[in-house]
Amino acid sequence: MKKAMLLIITILLVVPTLQAQKTYDHFEVQVDGLGCPFCAYGLEKKFKEFKGIKKVAIDIETGDFSFNYPTEKALTLEAVKQQVVKAGYTPNEGKVTRYDGTVELLEPIKEAMATDAKLTVASTFVAGNCGMCEARIVKAATDIVGVANASWNKDTKILEVNYNKKTTNMDVVEKAVAKAGHDTKHHKASDGTYNELPGCCAYERVDY
Protein backbone atom coordinates (compact mmCIF):
# COMPACT_ATOMS: atom_id res chain seq x y z
CA MET A 1 0.00 0.00 0.00
CA LYS A 2 2.80 2.37 0.95
CA LYS A 3 4.60 1.53 -2.27
CA ALA A 4 1.51 2.28 -4.30
CA MET A 5 1.07 5.62 -2.55
CA LEU A 6 4.70 6.51 -3.18
CA LEU A 7 4.32 5.58 -6.84
CA ILE A 8 1.24 7.77 -7.24
CA ILE A 9 2.93 10.68 -5.52
CA THR A 10 6.01 10.23 -7.71
CA ILE A 11 3.86 10.21 -10.86
CA LEU A 12 1.96 13.29 -9.71
CA LEU A 13 5.26 15.09 -9.16
CA VAL A 14 6.97 13.90 -12.32
CA VAL A 15 4.16 14.41 -14.87
CA PRO A 16 3.78 18.18 -14.30
CA THR A 17 7.56 18.50 -14.45
CA LEU A 18 7.62 16.72 -17.81
CA GLN A 19 4.76 18.88 -19.03
CA ALA A 20 6.59 22.00 -17.89
CA GLN A 21 9.52 20.91 -20.01
CA LYS A 22 7.46 21.08 -23.20
CA THR A 23 8.89 23.95 -25.17
CA TYR A 24 7.49 26.14 -27.91
CA ASP A 25 8.75 28.16 -30.86
CA HIS A 26 7.16 31.57 -31.37
CA PHE A 27 5.95 32.48 -34.88
CA GLU A 28 5.11 35.99 -36.08
CA VAL A 29 3.71 36.65 -39.54
CA GLN A 30 2.43 39.85 -41.09
CA VAL A 31 -0.56 38.81 -43.17
CA ASP A 32 -2.06 40.79 -46.02
CA GLY A 33 -5.81 40.59 -46.56
CA LEU A 34 -7.27 40.52 -43.06
CA GLY A 35 -9.93 43.19 -42.81
CA CYS A 36 -12.61 42.10 -40.42
CA PRO A 37 -13.28 39.42 -37.78
CA PHE A 38 -14.55 37.06 -40.50
CA CYS A 39 -11.09 37.07 -42.10
CA ALA A 40 -9.22 36.83 -38.82
CA TYR A 41 -11.29 33.89 -37.58
CA GLY A 42 -10.89 32.29 -41.00
CA LEU A 43 -7.10 32.40 -40.76
CA GLU A 44 -7.27 30.97 -37.26
CA LYS A 45 -9.56 28.20 -38.50
CA LYS A 46 -7.13 27.11 -41.18
CA PHE A 47 -4.26 27.02 -38.68
CA LYS A 48 -6.22 24.67 -36.42
CA GLU A 49 -5.01 22.00 -38.81
CA PHE A 50 -1.63 22.44 -37.09
CA LYS A 51 -2.24 20.20 -34.10
CA GLY A 52 -0.69 21.54 -30.91
CA ILE A 53 -0.89 25.23 -31.88
CA LYS A 54 -1.11 27.58 -28.87
CA LYS A 55 -1.58 31.24 -28.06
CA VAL A 56 -2.95 32.28 -31.43
CA ALA A 57 -3.19 36.08 -31.65
CA ILE A 58 -4.42 38.11 -34.60
CA ASP A 59 -4.51 41.89 -34.88
CA ILE A 60 -7.16 42.61 -37.50
CA GLU A 61 -6.05 46.21 -37.98
CA THR A 62 -2.40 45.49 -38.74
CA GLY A 63 -2.55 41.90 -39.95
CA ASP A 64 -0.05 40.80 -37.29
CA PHE A 65 -0.53 37.09 -36.64
CA SER A 66 1.39 35.12 -34.03
CA PHE A 67 1.26 31.74 -32.34
CA ASN A 68 3.34 29.23 -30.41
CA TYR A 69 4.09 25.76 -31.73
CA PRO A 70 5.81 22.79 -30.06
CA THR A 71 9.57 22.92 -30.67
CA GLU A 72 9.71 19.15 -31.14
CA LYS A 73 7.60 19.44 -34.32
CA ALA A 74 10.17 21.74 -35.99
CA LEU A 75 7.56 23.64 -37.99
CA THR A 76 9.16 25.62 -40.81
CA LEU A 77 8.34 29.16 -41.84
CA GLU A 78 7.76 27.87 -45.35
CA ALA A 79 4.98 25.58 -44.09
CA VAL A 80 3.44 28.52 -42.26
CA LYS A 81 3.63 30.62 -45.41
CA GLN A 82 1.88 27.90 -47.42
CA GLN A 83 -0.89 27.62 -44.83
CA VAL A 84 -1.52 31.38 -44.91
CA VAL A 85 -1.85 31.17 -48.70
CA LYS A 86 -4.19 28.18 -48.35
CA ALA A 87 -6.39 30.28 -46.06
CA GLY A 88 -6.72 32.83 -48.85
CA TYR A 89 -4.33 35.50 -47.61
CA THR A 90 -0.85 36.73 -48.48
CA PRO A 91 2.04 36.47 -46.01
CA ASN A 92 4.30 39.50 -46.04
CA GLU A 93 7.04 39.29 -43.47
CA GLY A 94 7.55 36.36 -41.15
CA LYS A 95 9.76 35.43 -38.23
CA VAL A 96 10.17 32.47 -35.93
CA THR A 97 12.00 32.67 -32.63
CA ARG A 98 13.03 29.15 -31.73
CA TYR A 99 13.05 28.00 -28.13
CA ASP A 100 16.86 28.17 -28.06
CA GLY A 101 16.76 31.85 -29.09
CA THR A 102 17.72 31.48 -32.74
CA VAL A 103 15.71 33.61 -35.14
CA GLU A 104 14.72 32.71 -38.70
CA LEU A 105 13.15 35.14 -41.16
CA LEU A 106 10.67 34.43 -43.92
CA GLU A 107 12.45 36.85 -46.21
CA PRO A 108 16.13 37.76 -46.39
CA ILE A 109 17.04 40.83 -44.41
CA LYS A 110 17.27 43.87 -46.57
CA GLU A 111 20.80 45.11 -47.01
CA ALA A 112 21.51 47.56 -44.25
CA MET A 113 21.82 51.15 -45.29
CA ALA A 114 25.00 52.95 -44.43
CA THR A 115 24.49 54.84 -41.21
CA ASP A 116 26.02 57.99 -42.63
CA ALA A 117 23.78 58.00 -45.72
CA LYS A 118 22.19 61.38 -46.32
CA LEU A 119 18.42 60.95 -46.41
CA THR A 120 15.86 62.89 -48.41
CA VAL A 121 12.22 63.21 -47.36
CA ALA A 122 9.52 63.27 -50.02
CA SER A 123 5.82 62.53 -50.18
CA THR A 124 3.29 61.55 -52.79
CA PHE A 125 -0.35 60.52 -53.16
CA VAL A 126 -1.15 56.79 -52.98
CA ALA A 127 -4.72 55.45 -53.18
CA GLY A 128 -5.83 52.93 -50.55
CA ASN A 129 -8.41 52.26 -47.85
CA CYS A 130 -7.39 50.47 -44.74
CA GLY A 131 -4.74 49.10 -42.42
CA MET A 132 -4.08 46.27 -44.85
CA CYS A 133 -3.45 48.79 -47.61
CA GLU A 134 -1.10 50.64 -45.29
CA ALA A 135 0.94 47.51 -44.61
CA ARG A 136 1.16 46.69 -48.32
CA ILE A 137 2.11 50.22 -49.40
CA VAL A 138 4.76 50.64 -46.72
CA LYS A 139 6.22 47.22 -47.46
CA ALA A 140 6.42 47.95 -51.19
CA ALA A 141 8.23 51.21 -50.47
CA THR A 142 10.60 49.96 -47.79
CA ASP A 143 11.56 46.87 -49.81
CA ILE A 144 13.40 49.18 -52.21
CA VAL A 145 17.11 49.39 -51.60
CA GLY A 146 17.85 52.95 -50.51
CA VAL A 147 14.58 53.53 -48.68
CA ALA A 148 15.19 53.92 -44.95
CA ASN A 149 11.56 54.09 -43.86
CA ALA A 150 8.12 55.02 -45.10
CA SER A 151 4.70 55.81 -43.71
CA TRP A 152 1.26 56.12 -45.28
CA ASN A 153 -1.77 57.85 -43.81
CA LYS A 154 -5.07 56.24 -44.75
CA ASP A 155 -6.97 59.50 -44.15
CA THR A 156 -4.77 61.85 -46.19
CA LYS A 157 -3.58 59.09 -48.61
CA ILE A 158 -0.09 60.58 -48.43
CA LEU A 159 2.99 58.34 -48.50
CA GLU A 160 6.04 59.87 -46.88
CA VAL A 161 9.40 58.30 -47.69
CA ASN A 162 12.91 58.77 -46.26
CA TYR A 163 15.40 57.62 -48.86
CA ASN A 164 18.98 57.88 -50.05
CA LYS A 165 18.96 60.07 -53.15
CA LYS A 166 22.12 58.40 -54.46
CA THR A 167 20.46 54.99 -54.48
CA THR A 168 16.83 55.53 -55.47
CA ASN A 169 14.14 58.11 -56.20
CA MET A 170 10.42 58.68 -55.78
CA ASP A 171 9.58 57.45 -59.26
CA VAL A 172 11.03 54.05 -58.36
CA VAL A 173 9.00 54.09 -55.13
CA GLU A 174 5.77 54.98 -56.92
CA LYS A 175 6.33 52.25 -59.51
CA ALA A 176 6.88 49.66 -56.77
CA VAL A 177 3.75 50.76 -54.93
CA ALA A 178 1.70 50.64 -58.15
CA LYS A 179 3.11 47.16 -58.82
CA ALA A 180 1.79 46.13 -55.41
CA GLY A 181 -1.70 47.18 -56.50
CA HIS A 182 -2.08 50.83 -55.48
CA ASP A 183 -2.60 53.77 -57.84
CA THR A 184 -0.15 56.58 -57.13
CA LYS A 185 0.05 60.16 -58.33
CA HIS A 186 2.01 59.18 -61.46
CA HIS A 187 1.60 55.41 -61.84
CA LYS A 188 -1.50 53.30 -62.16
CA ALA A 189 -1.71 49.75 -60.81
CA SER A 190 -2.63 47.10 -63.37
CA ASP A 191 -6.27 46.02 -63.36
CA GLY A 192 -5.16 42.44 -62.74
CA THR A 193 -3.23 43.32 -59.59
CA TYR A 194 -5.99 45.63 -58.40
CA ASN A 195 -8.60 42.89 -58.81
CA GLU A 196 -6.46 40.53 -56.76
CA LEU A 197 -6.55 42.84 -53.73
CA PRO A 198 -8.71 41.72 -50.79
CA GLY A 199 -12.25 43.10 -50.80
CA CYS A 200 -11.57 45.57 -48.02
CA CYS A 201 -8.72 47.11 -50.03
CA ALA A 202 -10.80 47.80 -53.14
CA TYR A 203 -10.18 51.54 -53.15
CA GLU A 204 -11.63 54.00 -55.65
CA ARG A 205 -9.43 54.01 -58.78
CA VAL A 206 -7.58 57.18 -59.74
CA ASP A 207 -8.51 58.96 -62.97
CA TYR A 208 -5.38 60.00 -64.86
Binding site: F38, G199, C200
Partner: protein, 312 residues
Protein backbone atom coordinates in the same frame (compact mmCIF):
# COMPACT_ATOMS: atom_id res chain seq x y z
CA UNK B 1 -98.51 103.44 -38.13
CA UNK B 2 -97.62 101.98 -41.44
CA UNK B 3 -94.54 104.13 -41.43
CA UNK B 4 -93.69 102.95 -37.92
CA UNK B 5 -94.26 99.37 -39.02
CA UNK B 6 -91.99 99.99 -41.94
CA UNK B 7 -89.29 101.30 -39.66
CA UNK B 8 -89.79 98.24 -37.52
CA UNK B 9 -89.50 96.03 -40.57
CA UNK B 10 -86.39 97.84 -41.69
CA UNK B 11 -84.92 97.53 -38.23
CA UNK B 12 -85.73 93.82 -38.12
CA UNK B 13 -84.21 93.27 -41.54
CA UNK B 14 -81.12 95.15 -40.52
CA UNK B 15 -80.74 92.97 -37.44
CA UNK B 16 -81.20 89.84 -39.55
CA UNK B 17 -78.68 91.06 -42.12
CA UNK B 18 -76.11 91.76 -39.41
CA UNK B 19 -76.73 88.29 -37.91
CA UNK B 20 -76.28 86.68 -41.33
CA UNK B 21 -73.02 88.58 -41.85
CA UNK B 22 -71.78 87.49 -38.43
CA UNK B 23 -72.76 83.92 -39.19
CA UNK B 24 -70.89 84.14 -42.46
CA UNK B 25 -67.84 85.52 -40.67
CA UNK B 26 -67.97 82.77 -38.05
CA UNK B 27 -68.40 80.18 -40.80
CA UNK B 28 -65.43 81.59 -42.70
CA UNK B 29 -63.27 81.60 -39.55
CA UNK B 30 -64.24 77.99 -38.89
CA UNK B 31 -63.40 76.92 -42.44
CA UNK B 32 -60.09 78.80 -42.29
CA UNK B 33 -59.20 77.16 -38.97
CA UNK B 34 -60.02 73.69 -40.33
CA UNK B 35 -57.97 74.31 -43.46
CA UNK B 36 -55.09 75.69 -41.41
CA UNK B 37 -55.09 72.66 -39.13
CA UNK B 38 -55.24 70.33 -42.12
CA UNK B 39 -52.30 72.18 -43.66
CA UNK B 40 -50.32 71.83 -40.45
CA UNK B 41 -51.05 68.11 -40.32
CA UNK B 42 -49.69 67.69 -43.85
CA UNK B 43 -46.49 69.55 -42.90
CA UNK B 44 -45.59 67.22 -40.02
CA UNK B 45 -41.92 67.45 -39.05
CA UNK B 46 -39.79 64.96 -41.02
CA UNK B 47 -38.53 61.95 -39.10
CA UNK B 48 -35.49 59.71 -39.48
CA UNK B 49 -33.39 57.27 -37.46
CA UNK B 50 -31.58 59.17 -34.71
CA UNK B 51 -29.05 57.93 -32.17
CA UNK B 52 -30.93 57.71 -28.87
CA UNK B 53 -28.48 55.89 -26.62
CA UNK B 54 -25.13 54.09 -26.57
CA UNK B 55 -24.56 51.20 -24.21
CA UNK B 56 -21.13 49.84 -23.29
CA UNK B 57 -21.15 46.04 -23.26
CA UNK B 58 -17.91 45.52 -21.41
CA UNK B 59 -15.72 42.70 -22.70
CA UNK B 60 -18.05 41.68 -25.53
CA UNK B 61 -17.04 41.86 -29.21
CA UNK B 62 -20.38 41.39 -30.90
CA UNK B 63 -20.71 39.72 -34.29
CA UNK B 64 -24.44 38.88 -34.28
CA UNK B 65 -27.64 39.56 -32.35
CA UNK B 66 -30.99 37.83 -31.80
CA UNK B 67 -34.00 38.57 -29.61
CA UNK B 68 -35.91 36.13 -27.43
CA UNK B 69 -38.39 36.70 -24.61
CA UNK B 70 -35.40 36.65 -22.24
CA UNK B 71 -33.79 39.68 -23.86
CA UNK B 72 -31.12 40.49 -26.43
CA UNK B 73 -28.54 37.81 -27.21
CA UNK B 74 -25.13 38.81 -28.50
CA UNK B 75 -22.67 36.42 -30.14
CA UNK B 76 -19.25 37.33 -28.74
CA UNK B 77 -16.96 36.04 -31.48
CA UNK B 78 -13.70 36.91 -29.78
CA UNK B 79 -14.67 35.13 -26.58
CA UNK B 80 -16.48 32.10 -28.04
CA UNK B 81 -19.78 32.64 -26.25
CA UNK B 82 -23.29 34.05 -26.35
CA UNK B 83 -24.14 36.82 -23.89
CA UNK B 84 -27.70 37.67 -22.83
CA UNK B 85 -28.25 41.32 -21.92
CA UNK B 86 -31.29 43.20 -20.67
CA UNK B 87 -32.59 46.46 -22.17
CA UNK B 88 -30.04 48.44 -20.17
CA UNK B 89 -27.13 46.35 -21.39
CA UNK B 90 -26.68 44.49 -18.12
CA UNK B 91 -25.28 41.02 -18.71
CA UNK B 92 -27.67 38.31 -17.50
CA UNK B 93 -26.02 35.04 -18.45
CA UNK B 94 -23.79 33.40 -21.04
CA UNK B 95 -23.63 30.27 -23.16
CA UNK B 96 -19.96 29.30 -23.32
CA UNK B 97 -17.63 26.84 -25.07
CA UNK B 98 -18.65 27.79 -28.59
CA UNK B 99 -16.22 28.16 -31.49
CA UNK B 100 -16.49 31.61 -33.01
CA UNK B 101 -20.28 32.12 -32.96
CA UNK B 102 -21.31 34.49 -35.75
CA UNK B 103 -24.66 35.91 -37.01
CA UNK B 104 -27.16 34.12 -34.79
CA UNK B 105 -30.95 33.86 -35.21
CA UNK B 106 -33.93 33.03 -33.01
CA UNK B 107 -37.35 31.50 -33.58
CA UNK B 108 -39.81 30.62 -30.80
CA UNK B 109 -37.13 31.30 -28.18
CA UNK B 110 -34.75 28.79 -29.76
CA UNK B 111 -31.33 30.16 -30.71
CA UNK B 112 -29.56 29.06 -33.87
CA UNK B 113 -25.80 29.58 -33.66
CA UNK B 114 -23.48 29.22 -36.67
CA UNK B 115 -20.04 28.31 -35.38
CA UNK B 116 -17.38 29.50 -37.75
CA UNK B 117 -14.63 27.57 -35.99
CA UNK B 118 -16.08 24.05 -36.15
CA UNK B 119 -18.48 24.29 -39.14
CA UNK B 120 -21.54 23.45 -37.07
CA UNK B 121 -24.90 25.10 -36.43
CA UNK B 122 -25.89 24.74 -32.79
CA UNK B 123 -29.53 24.79 -31.74
CA UNK B 124 -29.73 26.16 -28.21
CA UNK B 125 -32.82 26.10 -25.99
CA UNK B 126 -33.64 25.74 -22.32
CA UNK B 127 -32.85 22.04 -22.48
CA UNK B 128 -29.32 22.55 -23.78
CA UNK B 129 -27.64 22.46 -27.13
CA UNK B 130 -27.68 20.13 -30.11
CA UNK B 131 -26.18 20.19 -33.59
CA UNK B 132 -28.45 21.01 -36.53
CA UNK B 133 -28.30 17.96 -38.81
CA UNK B 134 -27.02 18.77 -42.31
CA UNK B 135 -26.15 16.38 -45.13
CA UNK B 136 -23.83 18.92 -46.73
CA UNK B 137 -20.63 20.11 -45.05
CA UNK B 138 -20.06 23.77 -44.28
CA UNK B 139 -16.84 25.75 -44.34
CA UNK B 140 -17.11 28.59 -41.83
CA UNK B 141 -20.86 29.26 -41.50
CA UNK B 142 -21.14 33.01 -40.93
CA UNK B 143 -24.87 33.60 -40.66
CA UNK B 144 -28.23 31.88 -40.32
CA UNK B 145 -31.86 32.92 -40.69
CA UNK B 146 -34.92 31.01 -39.51
CA UNK B 147 -38.45 31.79 -40.74
CA UNK B 148 -41.05 29.29 -39.53
CA UNK B 149 -39.83 25.99 -41.02
CA UNK B 150 -37.46 27.68 -43.43
CA UNK B 151 -33.74 28.08 -42.77
CA UNK B 152 -30.93 29.75 -44.72
CA UNK B 153 -27.20 29.55 -43.98
CA UNK B 154 -24.44 31.83 -45.29
CA UNK B 155 -21.56 29.41 -46.03
CA UNK B 156 -18.61 31.83 -46.03
CA UNK B 157 -15.69 29.90 -47.54
CA UNK B 158 -17.93 27.98 -49.96
CA UNK B 159 -19.38 31.27 -51.29
CA UNK B 160 -22.94 30.00 -51.26
CA UNK B 161 -26.28 29.92 -49.44
CA UNK B 162 -27.95 26.75 -48.21
CA UNK B 163 -31.74 27.05 -47.97
CA UNK B 164 -34.53 24.75 -46.89
CA UNK B 165 -38.28 25.30 -47.19
CA UNK B 166 -39.31 22.33 -45.10
CA UNK B 167 -36.49 22.37 -42.56
CA UNK B 168 -34.98 19.15 -43.88
CA UNK B 169 -34.15 19.25 -47.58
CA UNK B 170 -31.67 21.93 -48.54
CA UNK B 171 -30.87 23.56 -51.87
CA UNK B 172 -27.59 25.36 -52.49
CA UNK B 173 -27.21 28.46 -54.62
CA UNK B 174 -24.36 30.79 -55.53
CA UNK B 175 -20.67 30.31 -56.32
CA UNK B 176 -17.51 32.38 -55.94
CA UNK B 177 -17.56 35.37 -58.26
CA UNK B 178 -18.73 38.88 -58.90
CA UNK B 179 -21.58 38.36 -61.39
CA UNK B 180 -25.28 38.49 -60.52
CA UNK B 181 -26.06 35.58 -58.22
CA UNK B 182 -22.38 34.98 -57.39
CA UNK B 183 -20.97 35.60 -53.93
CA UNK B 184 -17.64 36.70 -52.56
CA UNK B 185 -17.66 35.63 -48.91
CA UNK B 186 -21.33 35.97 -47.84
CA UNK B 187 -21.60 36.80 -44.13
CA UNK B 188 -25.29 37.21 -43.34
CA UNK B 189 -28.69 36.13 -44.64
CA UNK B 190 -32.34 36.82 -43.90
CA UNK B 191 -35.51 35.09 -45.05
CA UNK B 192 -38.67 37.20 -45.45
CA UNK B 193 -42.14 36.21 -46.64
CA UNK B 194 -41.16 36.01 -50.31
CA UNK B 195 -37.40 36.52 -50.56
CA UNK B 196 -33.96 35.58 -49.33
CA UNK B 197 -31.66 38.56 -48.69
CA UNK B 198 -27.88 38.08 -48.56
CA UNK B 199 -25.08 40.32 -47.26
CA UNK B 200 -22.56 39.61 -50.05
CA UNK B 201 -19.80 40.99 -47.85
CA UNK B 202 -16.75 41.35 -50.08
CA UNK B 203 -18.71 42.09 -53.23
CA UNK B 204 -19.88 45.04 -51.12
CA UNK B 205 -23.57 44.64 -51.92
CA UNK B 206 -26.87 43.05 -50.93
CA UNK B 207 -28.36 40.38 -53.19
CA UNK B 208 -31.99 39.29 -53.23
CA UNK B 209 -33.25 35.85 -54.36
CA UNK B 210 -36.57 34.10 -54.58
CA UNK B 211 -37.20 30.94 -52.62
CA UNK B 212 -35.94 28.76 -55.45
CA UNK B 213 -32.56 30.49 -55.26
CA UNK B 214 -33.19 32.53 -58.42
CA UNK B 215 -31.49 35.91 -58.52
CA UNK B 216 -33.86 38.88 -58.28
CA UNK B 217 -31.84 42.05 -57.69
CA UNK B 218 -28.76 43.76 -56.29
CA UNK B 219 -28.94 46.60 -53.77
CA UNK B 220 -26.23 49.05 -52.70
CA UNK B 221 -23.60 48.24 -55.32
CA UNK B 222 -23.23 51.95 -56.08
CA UNK B 223 -22.63 52.97 -52.47
CA UNK B 224 -18.91 52.11 -52.31
CA UNK B 225 -19.40 49.90 -49.29
CA UNK B 226 -16.33 48.21 -47.87
CA UNK B 227 -17.34 44.84 -46.38
CA UNK B 228 -21.15 44.62 -46.17
CA UNK B 229 -21.14 42.35 -43.14
CA UNK B 230 -24.50 42.50 -41.34
CA UNK B 231 -28.05 42.64 -42.71
CA UNK B 232 -31.54 43.28 -41.36
CA UNK B 233 -34.74 43.49 -43.39
CA UNK B 234 -37.88 45.04 -41.86
CA UNK B 235 -41.32 45.41 -43.46
CA UNK B 236 -40.28 48.57 -45.29
CA UNK B 237 -36.53 48.93 -44.98
CA UNK B 238 -33.25 47.12 -45.57
CA UNK B 239 -30.32 47.88 -43.25
CA UNK B 240 -26.71 46.93 -44.00
CA UNK B 241 -23.57 47.47 -41.92
CA UNK B 242 -20.69 48.95 -43.94
CA UNK B 243 -17.87 47.66 -41.72
CA UNK B 244 -14.78 49.53 -42.90
CA UNK B 245 -16.65 52.79 -43.57
CA UNK B 246 -18.10 52.92 -40.04
CA UNK B 247 -21.71 53.36 -41.13
CA UNK B 248 -25.07 51.67 -41.67
CA UNK B 249 -27.01 52.26 -44.87
CA UNK B 250 -30.81 52.23 -44.97
CA UNK B 251 -32.61 51.35 -48.21
CA UNK B 252 -36.19 50.73 -49.13
CA UNK B 253 -37.04 47.29 -50.54
CA UNK B 254 -36.46 48.57 -54.07
CA UNK B 255 -32.90 49.61 -53.23
CA UNK B 256 -33.43 53.35 -52.96
CA UNK B 257 -31.03 54.77 -50.38
CA UNK B 258 -33.00 56.54 -47.65
CA UNK B 259 -30.51 57.25 -44.88
CA UNK B 260 -26.88 56.82 -43.86
CA UNK B 261 -26.29 56.29 -40.15
CA UNK B 262 -22.84 57.12 -38.83
CA UNK B 263 -23.19 58.76 -35.42
CA UNK B 264 -21.55 56.52 -32.82
CA UNK B 265 -20.95 53.76 -35.35
CA UNK B 266 -17.48 52.21 -35.51
CA UNK B 267 -16.72 48.92 -37.23
CA UNK B 268 -20.37 47.77 -37.17
CA UNK B 269 -21.10 44.07 -37.55
CA UNK B 270 -24.81 43.62 -36.92
CA UNK B 271 -28.12 45.43 -36.88
CA UNK B 272 -31.50 44.34 -35.57
CA UNK B 273 -34.87 46.04 -35.04
CA UNK B 274 -37.11 45.45 -32.06
CA UNK B 275 -40.04 47.42 -30.63
CA UNK B 276 -39.41 50.24 -33.06
CA UNK B 277 -35.76 50.64 -32.07
CA UNK B 278 -32.64 49.79 -34.05
CA UNK B 279 -29.77 48.06 -32.27
CA UNK B 280 -26.39 48.40 -34.00
CA UNK B 281 -23.32 46.64 -32.60
CA UNK B 282 -19.81 48.05 -32.83
CA UNK B 283 -17.37 45.16 -32.99
CA UNK B 284 -14.14 46.58 -31.68
CA UNK B 285 -15.14 49.07 -28.99
CA UNK B 286 -17.87 46.84 -27.50
CA UNK B 287 -20.62 49.42 -27.88
CA UNK B 288 -24.27 48.95 -28.72
CA UNK B 289 -25.95 51.94 -30.38
CA UNK B 290 -29.70 52.31 -30.12
CA UNK B 291 -31.43 54.40 -32.77
CA UNK B 292 -35.03 55.67 -32.53
CA UNK B 293 -37.39 56.97 -35.21
CA UNK B 294 -37.54 60.64 -34.29
CA UNK B 295 -37.97 64.11 -35.71
CA UNK B 296 -34.92 64.98 -37.78
CA UNK B 297 -33.02 67.75 -36.01
CA UNK B 298 -32.46 70.90 -38.01
CA UNK B 299 -28.95 71.98 -38.85
CA UNK B 300 -25.76 70.18 -39.83
CA UNK B 301 -26.76 66.98 -38.02
CA UNK B 302 -29.21 66.25 -40.81
CA UNK B 303 -26.43 65.72 -43.35
CA UNK B 304 -26.65 61.96 -43.17
CA UNK B 305 -30.35 61.83 -43.94
CA UNK B 306 -31.06 61.70 -47.64
CA UNK B 307 -34.82 61.39 -47.86
CA UNK B 308 -37.74 61.53 -45.55
CA UNK B 309 -39.84 58.40 -45.62
CA UNK B 310 -42.76 56.65 -44.04
CA UNK B 311 -42.02 54.29 -41.26
CA UNK B 312 -44.22 51.72 -39.64
Amino acid sequence: MALIMNYQDVALMSVLTIKRRKMKQIFLILISTILLLAGCAKKEAPKSWQLAKTIQIKGVNTIGMAITTEGLWLSDGDHNRLVLIDRDGKQQRTVDSLERPMHIASENDILYVPQYGNDEISVVDVNGSQVLPLKDSLDAPAGISVYQKEKAIADFYNHRILYTKDGTNYISFGKEGKAEGDFYYPTDVQITANEIWVADAYNNRIQVFDKNGMFLKIIGADQKMNAATGLFVSDNEVFITDYENDRVLVFDHEGVLKQKLSEGIEKPTEIIQDNGLLYISNFRNSELNIFAWEVTPEGPETHDHDHDHDHN
